[in-house]
């Protein structure tokens, strides 16, 4: 009975098989192995030694760097960059859809540039801009305008580093979510807007709220999930901006930095895996939240 039901869907399984095989081999199995490592002591050389929940217990009760810096920093960073980057990506996609057809792809290219040129973009634009001396563009402008008296150390002062990180990350938040939402907006049937005008839609904000957003929910959801994932996976930015690892007074220390620290500097892979599992749980929670906001009933 059950078998014949499965057999009746054989085409479905055939369709998903190529993806599922590669997915299982190169993503699921390695990740399950990594989760397994989180219950061990593993230094990359000796065999992993099973130590039960110790990594997790240490992580949430004694790891002061993690509790004092990584968690609050990540929380602050994510709460601004997640929703902020998402809103920026959506807003820009919407604005681009208001441009004439031939111009759109060039503006889309401009907005996507930070994602296209990743590392280079950051060091080239932002380091000279935020440089702490008088030559730094931002400092020299602010000094000329008389808004500050002494050059500010945008990337090396622990009080300012996080803000610089947030600004730069927001600038580069037009990634795959942005492309998807742009395609989604342009995909909305134009006859819907004509019908809307008859039904009394007066301005483009009403049009956006009552027509555009409801008809592109799948893309909005995709954008939200990608915003969460990329935000929590961000790590190197503080190190790149300040040029110091760890960042000054751990001001830019995020959970991902903590993973890198244990994984690639101290070679405590088991502990690094435990932090990865913790981060996964945090992302899962944030994701559930956005799902309930955007997901349709049947999902």
């Amino acid at each position: 009975m059950e078998v014949s039901r499965l057999w009746s869907f054989r085409t479905s399984y055939l369709f998903i098989a190529p993806f599922l095989i590669c997915f299982t081999l190169f993503i699921v199995i390695p990740i399950i192995a990594a989760v397994g490592l989180s219950f061990t002591y593993y230094n990359g050389i000796e065999r992993p030694r099973f130590i039960g929940w110790s990594n997790f217990q240490y992580l949430i009760s004694q790891d002061l760097l993690f509790l004092k810096y990584a968690i609050p920093n990540t929380f602050k960073f994510a709460i601004i960059v997640g929703p902020g980057g998402y809103a920026a990506a959506f807003l820009l996609a919407w604005l681009i859809s208001k441009l004439r057809g031939s111009v759109r792809k060039w503006v889309a290219l401009a907005m996507y540039t930070p994602s296209l040129t990743i590392g280079i973009a950051m060091t080239i634009i932002w380091l000279p801009l935020l440089s702490g001396d008088r030559i730094g563009y931002l400092n020299s402008i602010l000094l000329k305008l008389g808004l500050i008296d002494v050059p500010k150390l945008w990337v090396t002062n622990p009080d300012l580093l996080m803000n610089s990180m947030i600004a730069v990350t927001l600038w580069s938040s037009m990634g795959v979510g942005f492309l998807a939402m742009l395609a989604g907006i342009l995909n909305v049937d134009t006859t819907l807007y004509e019908a809307g005008k008859i039904d009394g839609i007066r301005n483009s904000l009403q049009e956006l709220w009552f027509l555009t957003i409801p008809s592109m929910k799948p893309q909005m959801l995709f954008g939200a999930v990608m915003a969460i994932v990329t935000t929590f996976k961000t790590g190197s930015i503080g190190v790149q901006l300040s040029g110091q690892n760890p960042t000054p007074s751990y001001a830019g220390h995020l959970i991902v930095n903590h993973i890198d620290d244990y994984g690639f500097i101290r070679f405590e892979m088991g502990y690094a895996a435990a932090i990865s599992v913790f981060l996964l749980i945090v992302m899962y929670g944030a994701n559930k939240l956005s799902w309930s906001l955007f997901g349709s009933k049947e999902e």
Binding site: S12, Y13, F15, L116, L192, I228, V229, K233, N287
Partner: protein, 282 residues
């Protein structure tokens, strides 16, 4: 009324133009940087525009590559093959998977989709070692398979395509089946054309991922002949005692890495925009 509309239009366009110019600065910089003579390369703060453009850096890169043991054309060949296959592979494999996930009520569908989303959220740092073991167990080290298979399954691509296929009305797919089309024909004739914008977006992503991918060359390829072009470029400036030498060649290398991405993006993005002009989903 008319004139206030015009003012709004002009200020909107000006705003978008100004923002675009600011955002596109990195591309302008990379183009200019490649043509800078050495004394301009190290100016601080860096200048965006080159003052005395010349092709000395291109010559330098040419000589560096001419002395390489494995001819540079081999690295380029590898990169072109891998990127081409991966764009084709990722789009086809992802679309094939996204269609049933969106439209077929098969058992296990929810579980598979949730797993895909969940795996998307695991940070990649610690996964490298187990993945290395899988690749080595499969015996695909130092083969093109070792470049291709690990990046073939893209959870982001499947998720994106599934979201777009969700928007295709079920009635359209039913109608196609009533007309006697089987699943394959329905997939090719209805599903693919209706989600072309998503397919183009996935292709952009797949190209970007594989063209700049250094990871598979570093981890899974021990033969120099099997490594790809970006890996070769990254060795130009790494491991040098001083970081002044070969900066010119590196500037050109950055440009060479960028241009295919740029062309690919522009071609496919204009496809996204033009397909949509005539086919709204009804």
């Amino acid at each position: 009324m008319r004139s206030s509309n015009l003012v709004a239009r002009i200020s909107f366009n000006t705003f978008m133009l100004a923002l675009s110019v600011f955002m596109i600065l990195p591309i302008i910089y990379i183009f200019n940087h490649a043509f800078k003579p050495y004394h301009e390369l190290f100016v601080y703060p860096p200048t965006f525009f080159v003052k005395e453009p010349n092709v000395q850096n291109f010559v330098e890169l040419f000589w560096v590559t001419a002395n390489s043991i494995v001819p540079v054309t081999r690295y380029l060949f590898n990169s072109v093959v891998i990127s081409g296959l991966s764009v084709l592979g990722v789009t086809i494999v992802s679309a094939l998977c996204a269609y049933p996930l969106s439209k077929h009520p098969f058992p296990g569908k929810k579980f598979i989709f949730s797993t895909i989303i969940l795996m998307l959220m695991f940070t990649p740092e610690i996964v490298q070692i187990p993945r290395y073991l899988v690749v080595s167990e499969l015996g695909i080290m130092n083969t093109y398979w070792g470049h291709l298979l690990p990046i073939l399954a893209s959870p982001v691509a499947v998720f994106l395509l599934k979201q777009f296929i969700d928007q295709i009305p079920d009635s359209l797919i039913e109608a196609s089946k009533i007309d006697g089309a089987n699943e394959v024909v329905t997939f090719v004739r209805i599903v693919i054309p209706m989600c072309m914008p998503a397919i183009a977006t996935v292709a952009i992503l797949a190209f970007q991922n594989s063209w700049g991918n250094i990871e598979t060359s570093t981890l899974f390829m021990q033969d120099d002949e099997m490594k790809n072009f970006p890996y070769f470029l990254s060795t130009l400036t790494n491991n040098l005692a001083n970081n002044v030498a070969r900066q010119g060649a590196a500037a050109v290398a950055a440009l060479i890495m960028l241009i295919p991405n740029l062309i690919f993006f522009i071609i496919l993005q204009s496809k996204v925009i033009s397909t949509m002009a005539h086919s709204g989903i009804k």
